[in-house]
């Protein structure tokens, strides 16, 4: 059994009213323990709605969402599910509750009724994990966006969460903040084996994932390893998504007759290939 299982999941906002809006339509998806899944999709594709189902913030209108075998509809299991699945939201300002960094990280374990000594230990460890030990007693409004998001991640870690769901965590950050947050998430996945569901519309971030799920209009339209997804740039464009720069360039070069192998989407790889081609130039350029 997978860690998270979505079975025929539909969600309709304002059901039965005039402004009824189906955000998810019969989604089937499973996420294994220890996996890093990126969910891609244009605005309004239903990816945030999907994220909120994973820790019972929203309940399915139809179908089921199971986390570690527990159905999110079972009211008794809600707190257990939310402890196991931590959430990080888009706006760094609107998810920090306390006026001091360490108090904020302690908020989750305090709600779970963890003893004070144990909370202290968890807070210290979480701060260390996200490299924010120096900022323990800072006020949140003095931190940068990237730092605030790392505090939000630490807040989830202090609950000893098994899975981290990040809903466009970098959308409001500058490039430096973006790489800080993505770096932290990657490290947590590699070192601690935390399951990551990373929702984004930045292709460069999705490359880090083991698997990519593409959504459009409430449906899962494509699923696969990054190589497969970015190997078909035409399709991505059709769903209003960008293509990673390297994939875009290699596609354009291929059309001009350059013999660049398919499935290149990382800038480093493309550079490597181009350097090799330059070395043996004559043999490569057609016509």
């Amino acid at each position: 059994m997978s860690f998270i299982e979505l079975e025929n999941l539909s969600h309709i906002y304002h059901k039965g009213q005039e402004n009824e809006f189906p955000a998810l339509r019969h989604v089937n998806l499973s996420i294994e323990e220890g996996e890093f899944v990126a969910i891609l999709g244009a605005n309004g594709s239903g990816k945030s709605t999907l994220a909120k189902h994973l820790n019972a913030l929203l309940l399915p209108t139809e179908g089921h969402c199971r986390v570690a075998g527990m159905d999110t509809r079972e009211t008794d299991a809600v707190w257990e599910i939310r402890q196991q699945v931590g959430m990080v939201f888009q706006n760094p300002d609107n998810q920090i509750i306390a006026a001091i960094v360490e108090d904020d990280i302690a908020f989750g374990p305090e709600n779970l009724g963890v003893p004070p000594e144990e909370i202290r230990r968890r807070v210290s460890e979480a701060l260390k994990t996200v490299h924010m030990r120096k900022y323990r007693t800072f006020a949140p409004h003095l931190l940068s966006g990237g730092q605030k998001q790392r505090i939000a991640i630490a807040g989830a870690l202090a609950m000893e969460t098994k899975c981290l769901v990040l809903d466009e965590p970098t959308a409001m950050l500058d490039p430096q903040g973006r790489s800080e947050v993505l770096g932290t998430v990657k490290r947590l996945h590699e070192e601690k084996g935390i399951t990551v569901v990373y929702i984004t519309h930045f292709m460069e971030e999705a490359i880090a994932a083991d698997r990519i799920v593409v959504m459009e209009k409430g449906n899962v339209v494509m699923e696969g390893v990054p190589k497969e997804i970015f190997g078909t740039p035409e399709k991505l464009k059709q769903w209003n998504l960008d293509v990673p720069l390297a994939a875009d360039i290699s596609e354009k070069l291929r059309r001009k007759g350059w013999k660049i192998p398919k499935g290149i989407y990382e800038s480093e790889k493309l550079i490597e290939v181009l350097v090799k081609m330059a070395a043996g130039r004559k043999s490569v350029v057609g016509e």
Binding site: R82, Q95, I96, A99, A106, G108, G113, P140
Partner: protein, 267 residues
């Protein structure tokens, strides 16, 4: 323009007063405030004045902070002094038109003014040496026995905490909105009161809308982190009554005992 604000009047430090348990500080403050009203003899007021002065000295709070906390109430103190000075019957010092200034009035005026000054200074001593967060925490604990009669102690404390957290954020936002409006030709500094009040509306509307959106998202984030009210909740920072607090309580009881003896022996 709105960037340098401090919330409350906490003055960080490491004095004995700073290290005392905030709950004990609040209780002792009430104890002394009642004491000041109860022991209204000259002797007792000399003791209270020395006590307040001594506590200020040991807390390491600069003198200018002391005067700063009195300034807003200066007029009230002066007004009270004047009323007592002119309206107490007794032996005349001087006569100004229809008002009599009497020796008794002078004495009483000084006495009542001193009482106000002591009340203000002792209360500000609490807020000078206790951070707003600790105060909130202490209030929650002190009010928690009243939960049974329906006082929402935890909810009040949580509201205070969130308010403290979001005041700087909202001030930053106000600043941003004002600049945005100014860059489009809005003028906040000229015109009469009505005109200026009207200029504030385009600042307040977006600020309120944004505050509601923030509240909504914050509630979602709190739920995601298993928040379900105060029940079954623990706290990382446990308030502990230490030896300093016991000594302070002991000394206060002793002091009041002595004052009571003085009062009943009419000294």
């Amino acid at each position: 323009m709105l960037s340098d604000i401090t919330i409350g009047q906490y003055f960080p430090g490491g004095s004995l007063l700073h290290r005392m348990d905030p709950r004990v500080k609040i209780v002792l403050l009430f104890f002394f405030l009642i004491g000041i009203f109860f022991f209204d003899t000259v002797g007792a007021y000399i003791v209270f004045s020395l006590l307040t002065g001594g506590l200020f000295y040991f807390s390491g709070i600069p003198m200018r902070m002391m005067t700063k906390s009195l300034r807003p109430l200066l007029w009230i103190i002066l007004f009270t002094f004047a009323i007592h000075l002119f309206s107490t019957p007794g032996e005349d010092i001087a006569r100004i038109w229809m008002f009599h200034v009497t020796w008794e009035g002078l004495g009483k005026g000084i006495f009542i003014s001193l009482r106000l000054v002591l009340l203000i200074l002792l209360s500000s001593l609490l807020t000078f040496t206790t951070s707003p967060l600790k105060l909130t925490d202490a209030l929650e604990r002190l009010l928690s026995p009243l939960k049974r009669v329906g006082v929402p102690a935890h909810e009040l404390a949580m509201m205070m905490t969130i308010a403290l957290r979001f005041i700087p954020t909202l001030i930053e936002e106000t600043d941003k909105i004002m600049k945005a409006q100014q860059s489009r030709g809005s003028d906040f500094t000229t015109g009469n009161l009505m005109q200026r009040a009207k200029q504030i509306v385009p600042v307040l509307v977006p600020l309120f809308i944004s505050a509601f959106r923030r509240a909504d998202e914050l509630a979602m984030a709190m739920e995601a982190r298993c928040y379900h009210g105060g029940e079954g909740r623990t706290q990382m920072k446990v308030l502990r009554v230490s030896s300093i607090d016991y000594v302070a309580c002991g000394a206060s009881v002793l002091l009041c005992g002595m004052l009571a003896l003085l009062k009943w022996n009419n000294l």
